[in-house]
Assembly symmetry: C2
Homo-oligomer: 163 residues x 2
Amino acid sequence: MAAQNGKDLAGDAEAVLEAIIYLYTEGRRITKELARKAELTGPQLAVIKGLEQIGKLSLTELSERIRAQNSTVTGIIDRMEREGLVVRERSTEDRRVIQIRLTEKGAAIAREIPVEPMEVFQEALGILSPAETRDLLRILTKVANRVRERTEPGPRPKGNQEP
Amino acid sequence: MAAQNGKDLAGDAEAVLEAIIYLYTEGRRITKELARKAELTGPQLAVIKGLEQIGKLSLTELSERIRAQNSTVTGIIDRMEREGLVVRERSTEDRRVIQIRLTEKGAAIAREIPVEPMEVFQEALGILSPAETRDLLRILTKVANRVRERTEPGPRPKGNQEP
DNA sequence: GCGGTTTATTTCGCGTACGAAACTTCCTTG
DNA sequence: CAAGGAAGTTTCGTACGCGAAATAAACCGC
């Protein structure tokens, strides 16, 4: 451990990491809990809410939206199709692409779940003053850009899991 | 989308979320990449580094350390034991508990991997001024506490995945 | 010292999550 | 228009990750 004297930057850095991990995992947990009420999983809720907004998405578009690999989303859609929540339709213009849309059953469930999972955070961020919010954004962006620079050289996969 | 006029708090909030998600997933990616050089997975690296520091840990202690459920860690240790990286030893004082420690092979690999995965972040945070770091910590803590208050009523599971 | 509760770990079933390889369709270029 | 490459999706194998139930040992009160 470093010295504890109010200038303990390493300790602060660690605490910042802790906070980020906490916020992220808590977000996942909230999404999951919200989903469970409708007998869904976290990623499935994300899919349903995405499709509700946009109407119809190709598998790749959906993958980008929920930040997961195509091969992962294939499995998620398999299970949702099995449950009758969505259907796959092959596009007529480009027969390589699969369009995914909600069934009536899927749309009904989407309507039942009122809020976006993120809204808990929007609300939590709401207690900050506008200046604090912008400071937070500015500093986080600075750090993120630094990490990005540091790791950009070399290809990067695109994501992992639910929002 | 809301109006884009510099007072777009909802947009700022969303950007903050994006940044948090980016930093978290990037952290996982870096850990994974670091681990891959030693033919390990992310969680396995976390286990090895934990055991290197402490020497010997019960399964439950290890679970807390890497923020995962016991049932998850059982599987991780199974695979690592199969690879000869760690061994299980039943405690003599309390025969319910399993102590896990590195084999010589595991210890050698731990020595080969120089840095903690977190160090990339420590470095990224290093470009902030001390004031910025403390602002960041203060604001994040405020948000985290707010989320905590909002969700505390009701039991919470303890974690999910690698650091 | 016996029955009941608590604690530590494992087992089981399911759902992500990823990367590499296979497949199909589309597009380019000679 | 044929060959080759690129793009969209699926398949396969492996590793988490969780919660509920099972198992085993320790503890507690009487």
